[in-house]
């Protein structure tokens, strides 16, 4: 094995590892299935080429291309990364909220084929099918030659160092609170949205950074091999990278590097050891390579879908006895925890002072400190005005006005108007298909309304997306299990914490020293909740491994971690042991006593009897009646619609 061969291996491995890290970050961590990944590498390659090459008339003008700026190193590589990242921007519309994952995947796949066809056929752009050649290596102008051994080693060292930098970068992102949000989005994007995660921003960040990594890897590659043509980046090359990531272990960065070394590099190199014989059909070996890659994908997804190195579980030690000695065990935990947060969370701690008179003389309203309602909402709060004029009734927090939702001609919710008052535990009952869950989904922003208006804390939130409503303190839970399966119970809880300094791209990059304090405070709060609901022992189990009832608890705790001012619960006690259901009910009443507002859908009338006041009855998409359970039992239409039917 000569040194030239070794160099080749190292550089190819570095380039492929860098691309695989980008793809693993998109696919394994953030759940963005980018079937067009290769076009970002291609774009980086072309960018580096046309930045480094002299004008198209050079070398007798045998190739035609745009650009040709003849820029010195390292500008071509920087340009490659920038172009890869910028190219990702138009694709964000494909991965935004509107498009389901498989649609986005097909859209990206189609785009990859489309761009390849364009570049192949339109010669003036990038020399068409023949591709670019004679791309200068770094420092070629200074007379360094690509054939000298010392130069080769320096090149390899540079490539490896850049790959290491990318590795450090993706690790830093993934192991931060921001990375946790990415993984939460991967596991269940609707729920992440309802907890205040901006899916579009998260996915855009992943597409752009992944695109930049792919672009840089392409730039390094073309500088080394000095040619680049459409044949090098057919859409099937993306499949090779996917194979590498799946085999190595999606979501595990070391796995991505191993996958890169095993699949793209390994398959190139292993053919050298095959005997060459003229008796073999001409395309046999390359064909068999593709067959083997296909087989590997299918076998791994069948036998070991988590890959060679599965995603690592994040163990987070509970503060232990410290948690029980501090007063975090009570409902007041929220106050204590947010008070211990510094800087950004200061606003939360001054809630009692800033809360205006809309509490309407109810001192208990100021004891619980959810996130403050936005100041502008407080100043012009019609709900507060109503409240004061209404014989001491607490203010309206959430109101629906003539809300309608149609599903292809069926009116699931047919002109509902009702109000939820501050500090109440309002029940919502009705027969199956009455439109309760649909109404809840519209209140939280998971579903858009067909017509009508939603008012939250005096603000019209009809057009406000779910994640923004969550940030305003309006948080929902789901009827069907909606835990983040591949996050631990503790991580599920932590994922909902608003205002963590590490829960942004910049914060994640600044490192644990920057966000560690917020994280520790969040862990303390989560520990308090876990102990209250008796799940502390499961803190480091995957939420997907829990029983149905435990998952409901995780979901309720997660919603509480979001520091809601108003909580929308969709059958929180379904599948929960009756005794535990009582305890949850009592906790909810206590939270309402501290000023939280809760709207709860529930079928168990005993629960309604015991905890909810008032209760709203829905049937066939309309509000039928409202009052205490006592009053409702006396009304014949309610009894007919629900209690009997």
């Amino acid at each position: 094995m000569n040194s030239y061969y070794t160099l080749n291996l190292i550089i190819y491995a570095a380039v492929d590892a860098m691309a695989c890290l980008g793809l693993s970050q998109q696919f394994g961590v953030a759940g963005v299935t980018n079937f067009g990944f290769i076009i970002f590498q291609a774009a980086g390659g072309y960018a580096a080429a046309i930045l480094a090459m002299p004008g198209a008339s050079a070398n007798g003008g045998f190739q035609s291309y745009i650009g040709g700026w003849n820029l010195p190193f390292p500008l071509p590589w920087i340009g490659a990364a920038v172009v890869g990242g910028v190219l990702a921007l138009p694709f964000t519309f494909l991965v935004g909220r509107r498009l389901r994952g498989d649609f986005a995947a097909v859209g990206l796949l189609v785009t990859a084929v489309l761009l390849n066809l364009l570049v192949t056929n339109y010669r003036p752009l990038l020399n068409g099918d023949a591709g670019l050649s004679l791309i200068p290596a770094p420092f070629a102008a200074q007379g360094f030659s690509g054939t000298s051994s010392g130069y080769g080693w320096a090149f390899a060292a540079g490539a490896v160092a850049l790959t290491a930098a990318v590795f450090w970068f993706v690790r830093r992102i993934t192991f931060s609170p921001y990375g946790r949000s990415l993984r939460a989005m991967r596991d269940n994007d609707t729920v992440a949205d309802s907890l205040g995660k901006n899916l579009l921003s998260l996915r855009t960040a992943m597409l752009v950074t992944g695109g930049a990594m792919a672009g840089l890897s392409g730039g390094i590659l073309v500088s080394y091999i000095s040619t680049w043509s459409p044949a090098a980046w057919g859409y099937a090359e993306t499949v090779v990278l996917f194979a590498a990531v799946i085999i190595g272990g999606a979501g595990n960065h070391i796995g991505a590097v191993i996958g890169a070394i095993l699949v793209p590099v390994g398959f190139e190199e292993i053919t050298r050891f095959f005997p060459t014989s003229n008796n073999l059909p001409p395309n046999l070996v390359p064909s068999l390579e593709w067959v083997a890659i296909g087989l590997l994908i299918v076998i791994f997804l069948w036998v070991r879908p988590q890959g060679i190195l599965p995603e690592r579980k994040r163990f987070i030690a509970l503060p232990g006895s410290a948690a029980t000695s501090t007063p975090t065990a009570g409902p007041a935990a929220t106050d204590v925890a947010s008070a211990s947060g510094r800087g950004t969370s200061a606003a939360q701690t001054v809630v009692p002072e800033t809360r205006p008179a809309d509490a309407n003389g109810q001192a208990r309203d100021t004891r619980y400190s959810p996130r403050p309602s936005p100041p502008q909402a407080q100043e012009t709060q019609p709900g507060a005005a109503e409240g004061t004029g209404d014989h001491g009734q607490p203010a309206v927090v959430l109101a629906a006005r003539d809300v309608v939702r149609e599903f292809g001609g069926v009116r699931a919710v047919d002109g509902v108007s009702f109000e939820v008052r501050r500090g109440t535990l309002t029940g919502l009952i009705g027969p199956n298909g009455a439109g309760k869950s649909t109404l809840l989904a519209m209140l939280a922003g998971t579903l858009p309304v067909t017509s009508g208006h939603l008012i939250y804390q005096g603000q019209d939130v009809t057009g406000v997306p779910a994640f923004r409503r969550a940030r305003l303190g309006l948080v929902r839970t789901f009827q069907l299990a909606s835990e983040f399966k591949r996050l631990t119970v503790l991580e599920n809880l932590l994922s909902a914490v608003p205002g963590n300094r590490g829960d942004s791209f910049r914060g994640a990059l600044l490192g644990q020293r920057y966000w560690g304090g917020d994280e520790a405070a969040a862990v303390r709060r989560a520990t308090g909740l876990l102990e209250r609901f008796g799940l502390a022992g499961m803190a480091n189990s995957y939420a997907g491994d829990l029983s149905g009832g435990q998952r409901r608890l995780v979901e309720i705790m997660r919603a509480l971690m979001a520091e809601p001012a108003t909580l929308l619960l969709d059958e929180p006690m379904a599948g929960v042991h009756p005794r535990l259901a009582r305890r949850i009910g009592a906790e909810l009443v206590a939270l309402c006593g501290e000023g939280m507002t809760i709207l709860m859908v529930e079928h168990e009338l005993a629960i309604m009897d015991e905890f909810c006041d008032p209760v709203v009855v829905m049937a066939e998409g309309r509000v039928l009646a409202e009052g205490t359970m006592q009053q409702l039992r006396g009304r014949s239409e309610v009894v007919e619609a629900y209690l009997v039917g």
């Binding site: 489309l114 192949t120 056929n121 499949v239 996917f242 890659i293 994908i297």
Partner: protein
Amino acid sequence: MVIVSLGMTLIIEFGVQAVTGGTAVSYTMSNGPTLAGGGLNLDGVEVIIIVLSVLVMLAVHGLLRYTKLGKAMRATAANQSLARNCGIRASRVITATWAITGALCGLAGVVFAIDAGSFDATSTDLFLILILAAVFLGGPGQAYGAMLGAVVIGLATEVSAVFIPADYKYVIAFVVLLVMLGVRPTGLLGAPQ
């Protein structure tokens, strides 16, 4: 699932190529008499292809609409575990679906080869993407959507070849799909969200 399908594609496509050695096979039939009418010139083979595709569309329609298997397929697609609990052997329905799909694809392959006159293992490479585009254009899971999507994609590619170089005809098809994904994310006949 998409990844598995692409993996299987690689296995079969290049498996065939490894066996046949990548040589093109020519497959020519006598073109038969030519029909002319309404400005169209169709030879016998083309007429047969058109009649076949109409027959297949009718057959799929009949299968989904009027047979027990078709009903079972639609039930399984809507909710697999519920279908199973209702006494439908979901796994068998899925197998049957794969078999029917395979048969239809095989027929499409024969027709493609007859029309093209020669083919090799990789000649339908781009076809896969075109078909995906057609299905997603119509709305996945919608049989009529797929038919509509196929007609739109087919017409878009061929008609556009009149106005722009034929090299770009597939580009048009893909642009149509991307625009549609932006405007109507669930497909032409897909259920709105």
